[in-house]
Amino acid sequence: MNRLAVELPGLSLKNPIMPASGCFGFGREYARFYDLSVLGAIMIKATTLEPRFGNPTPRVAETPSGMLNAIGLQNPGLEKVMKEELPWLAQFDVPIIANIAGSTMEEYVEVAKHISQAPNVCALELNISCPNVKKGGIAFGTVPEIAAELTKLVKEVSEVPVYVKLSPNVTNIVEMAKAIEAAGADGLTMINTLLGMRIDVKTAKPILANQTGGLSGPAIKPIAIRMIYEVSQAVSLPIIGMGGIQSAEDVIEFFYAGASAVAIGTANFIDPFVCPNIIAELPTLLDKLGIGHISECTGRSWKKGERSVYCGA
C-alpha cells in the first residue's frame, strides 16, 4: 500500500505534494534538479489566452517570513503552452493541473476549453484572483455570484475536473466556497496570496513597481490554516491546501485543518529540492504520529473523537 497515494477528482496522485502555480514555471528549471516524476502533480504557471509580459520590475519584495510578488501573470499564452510546454511535460509520469486566468469570463472559457484537451492536463485550477475588466476591476474571487458564474461557464466547456482557487482577500471565505460548490466545482485550492505592500524607507516609494503585490510564504500559513479549517467543515469538496508550507510537519498541519493534498509555492525558491524532500520525509513522520495513511489526517482537527497518538520523544 502506498501510504501517500490520494485520489481526487481527475487526479490519481502517488503522493499529495505538488508545486503551486507560478512558483515552478512549467517545470523546466526544476527538472535540472530532480526527476519531476516523483511529484504528486504539477500546477503550472497561470495561462492566459494571449502571451503576457506582466508588470514592470521590481516584481518581488521580501517581508518578515514572507514575500510579495507582482509578476502580473507573465506567460507565453495558450498556444505556446499547448504546443511547447505541455508536450515537454508529457515526458514525466506526473499529472498536470493547468492554472488558468483571464480578464473576462470569455477568456477563461476559451483557455479552459482548449487546455483541458491536452492529454496530460488532468484538472484545471481557476485563478479567480484576477481583476475582472468588465466589472470595473473587481476581482472575480471576491464576489460569490461572479465566482459562481465563472465556475459554471468553465465547467460547461472543460474536459477535466475544475478546481477553483480561492482568494483569501475576502470577508467571508465560507460563503465564497459554498457558492462555488453550488456552481458545480469539483474541488477547491486555497489560498492564493494576500494583498500586501512594502515601502522603501530610503526612497519613500513602494518597492514593487506595481505598488501592491501578493503576500506568500510562512507568514500567511496561520491564515491559510484557519480558512481551510472553516471551509472544509462547510463544503464537501476536496481541498488542495497551500500557503507557507515549508516542511513535512506543515503538510500534516494542512491535512489536519482539512486539506486532502497540498501545494508548495514560495518554498521552492528557498530550496529547489523542497518537494522531493518533503515527499521523502512524510512516511517517517506518519510513523512518528502513528498514522497509517496520510488521508486519515484530513480534517482531524475538527473530526470528533479522533486524536492522533504521538509516539515521539
Partner: protein, 256 residues
C-alpha cells in the same frame, strides 16, 4: 547547479561596509564563468526568507574555494557579516551566464568598468583575461574614499583608474568621465554596476563590443518565477530573465 552548505574559511572587512568572504565546498567544482553568481541563504529560519544573489569574485579551483565581496546593506547581508569562519552558509549555484571570455581574443585590449559593489565579478574576469593574453584596463567607480576596495588587486592585472563620486579619492566623477578624459581605447568592454552607469556606457559606445551585467530583485534565481525579467527591444511580450539568461547581456540585447 547544486545546493551545498559551504564552509566559511575566511571572512574579513575590506572597507566601510564592504566584506570579503571565502567559502569552501564541492560547489566550486561547478564554477566556471566569471560573472556567474550564487544564491545564498543566510539564515536557517524563515526570516530573512529569500536567498541573496551574490557574484563570484574569485574562483580558486585548486583550493576548492571561492570568494565573494559584498556590501552590508539590509537584513540579509547584515546577518551574513556576523558569521564566523567554521560556520556554514547555504549556497545554491553557480547560476546564470557570465562574461564571455571568447569575445576578447589574445592580444586584444579589454576595458573592465565596475561601479561599487558591481566590481567584484570583474576580478575573476580580469584574471582570466590576463591568463589568456588579453590586455586589461580597469576603471573602478566608488561613492567615496571609505568604500574603495581591491584597487591593488586590479592593478596587478593592468592599468587601473579609480574614480569617486565625491572626489575624495582618485578622479572626481563617474567612470565615464575617466574613460573620456583618459581617452581609453579598447576592443571589448565588460561592465557591472548600477543601471545608470550601464546605460551611460551603452550609449557612449554604440558601435563597440560591450557586455553588461545586470541586477534585478530575484525570487528563485533559476528562471522559474519570472521575477527578474527585462524587455527585449522592439517587442511587447519578448523578455529575458536576468537570473538564467543573464546576468550578463550584450549591449542592446535587452532594454536597460
Amino acid at each position: 547547479m547544486k545546493r551545498e552548505n559551504m564552509v566559511i574559511v575566511r571572512h574579513k572587512q575590506l572597507a566601510k561596509n564592504i566584506y570579503e568572504i571565502t567559502l569552501s565546498g564541492h560547489l566550486v567544482e561547478e564554477m566556471n564563468e566569471p560573472g556567474q553568481f550564487v544564491h545564498v541563504k543566510v539564515s536557517s529560519q524563515a526570516n530573512p526568507l529569500l536567498r541573496r544573489p551574490l557574484s563570484l569574485c574569485h574562483i580558486n579551483k585548486k583550493a576548492c574555494e571561492c570568494t565573494i565581496i559584498y556590501r552590508k546593506e539590509g537584513i540579509g547581508t547584515t546577518l551574513l557579516a556576523e558569521k564566523r569562519p567554521g560556520e556554514t552558509v547555504d549556497v545554491l549555484g553557480p547560476l546564470g551566464n557570465g562574461f564571455p571570455l571568447d569575445a576578447a581574443a589574445k592580444g586584444k585590449r579589454a576595458l573592465l568598468v565596475g561601479g561599487g559593489i558591481g566590481i567584484p565579478p570583474l576580478y575573476e574576469l580580469a584574471k582570466r583575461l590576463v591568463e589568456k593574453g588579453v590586455a586589461v584596463t580597469n576603471v573602478l567607480g566608488f561613492q567615496t574614499k571609505e568604500t574603495v576596495f581591491y584597487e591593488q588587486e586590479f592593478a596587478a592585472f593592468g592599468e587601473t583608474y579609480v574614480a569617486t563620486a565625491d572626489g575624495s579619492y582618485g578622479a572626481k566623477g563617474f567612470v565615464t568621465d575617466v574613460i573620456n578624459e583618459r581617452e581609453i581605447s579598447f576592443d571589448v568592454l565588460y561592465a557591472c554596476g548600477p543601471k545608470p552607469m550601464l546605460k551611460a556606457l551603452e550609449q557612449a559606445f554604440p558601435h563597440k563590443n560591450v557586455y553588461l551585467s545586470l541586477e534585478e530583485r530575484m525570487g528563485c534565481g533559476i528562471g522559474a518565477c519570472f521575477a527578474c525579467v527585462c524587455r527585449v527591444p522592439g517587442s511587447e511580450t519578448a523578455y529575458k530573465k536576468v537570473c538564467s539568461d543573464g546576468p550578463v547581456f550584450k549591449a542592446g540585447e535587452v532594454v536597460l
